[in-house]
């Protein structure tokens, strides 16, 4: 490293380097998606706190308000709002199933025994169960999104 730290700065890729899974393995993509979906879900939850508050008339309301609820419904209860909900269901189910995988891994339940690193440098401690659970997460998320589509668009046509 150079004395002025320029080499260190050159190698410091910042948040985009941390977030970018390109050139990394499948599990690294799952790591990135877990965080991206987590942030997306939290943003939705905060928005949901805002819209449900209109059930009691919004920030200045004092009790259950049919007009406040009708107002917020007129904004979000449409095809665009339902598409957002379907996307949220998609990322929510992936986040949930992948989160269960991470908890199992954290407690050492789905690891194989580590062994010497050899070409092509695939991590040998990652078991097929781990990879399968990522695919299960993707599959469950797609099915849940289809279910949400059927529920939300029922009777809209």
């Amino acid at each position: 490293m150079s004395s002025d730290g320029s080499e260190r700065r050159k190698n410091k890729r910042g948040i985009w380097g941390w977030l970018n899974p390109y050139h990394y393995n499948f599990e690294r993509w799952a790591y990135t998606f877990q965080r991206v979906t987590g942030v997306a879900i939290l943003l939705y939850v905060l928005g949901h706190l805002g819209d449900t508050s209109f059930f009691v008339g919004g920030p200045t309301g004092t009790g259950p308000s049919p007009s406040g609820w009708a107002f917020i419904g007129s904004i979000f209860e449409n095809s665009f709002g339902h598409l957002i909900l379907i996307l949220i269901v998609l990322v929510l189910f992936f986040h949930g199933v992948n989160g269960v995988r991470l908890i199992l891994a954290e407690f050492g339940l789905i690891f194989k025994k580590p062994s010497a690193i050899e070409y092509p440098y695939k991590p040998k401690s990652l078991s097929p169960v781990q990879k399968s659970l990522i695919w299960v997460g993707i599959g469950v998320a797609v099915l849940a999104a289809l279910w949400a589509f059927l529920v939300l668009f029922e009777g809209m046509g």
Binding site: G38, S53, V56, T62, G63, G73
Partner: protein, 117 residues
């Protein structure tokens, strides 16, 4: 609180959130048609049922603690220094307090408030 305890909080809230969100989604999309589930009268009856009011408050706290603790974890992974950690931890507590407070206000007003226009 030690980091290991906070990670345990993250895992426990994750498992509880999965169960509570599953019940929430079943109530919104399986037990009734969606249009009925989001009707004013149905939601009022849910809030005014003591069990579901406690359920919704628990869901609120669990999801927000999990969400903001998750953001805290991301920010700690991104950058490490003692002042940064203190700011991130303090911000997390504040964000949880404000958001839980606002959501709890909705629950309390929905349960105890008089119906307005």
């Amino acid at each position: 609180m030690r980091e290991s305890r906070l990670m345990l909080v993250q895992y426990v809230t994750a498992v509880v959130a999965i169960l509570l969100v599953a019940v929430h989604l079943i109530m919104q999309g399986v037990l009734y048609p969606y249009s009925t589930a989001i009707s004013f009268g149905n939601i009022l009856s849910i809030y005014r049922n003591g069990f579901y009011a406690v359920f919704l408050e628990t869901l609120l706290v669990v999801v927000l603690v999990h969400g903001f603790n998750g953001i805290r974890i991301i920010l700690h992974e991104w950058k490490q220094s003692a002042p940064w950690s203190r700011w991130v931890d303090a911000g997390t507590v504040l964000a949880i307090a404000v958001s839980v407070g606002y959501g709890t206000r909705t629950v309390i007003l929905a349960v105890f408030g008089g119906v307005t226009a």
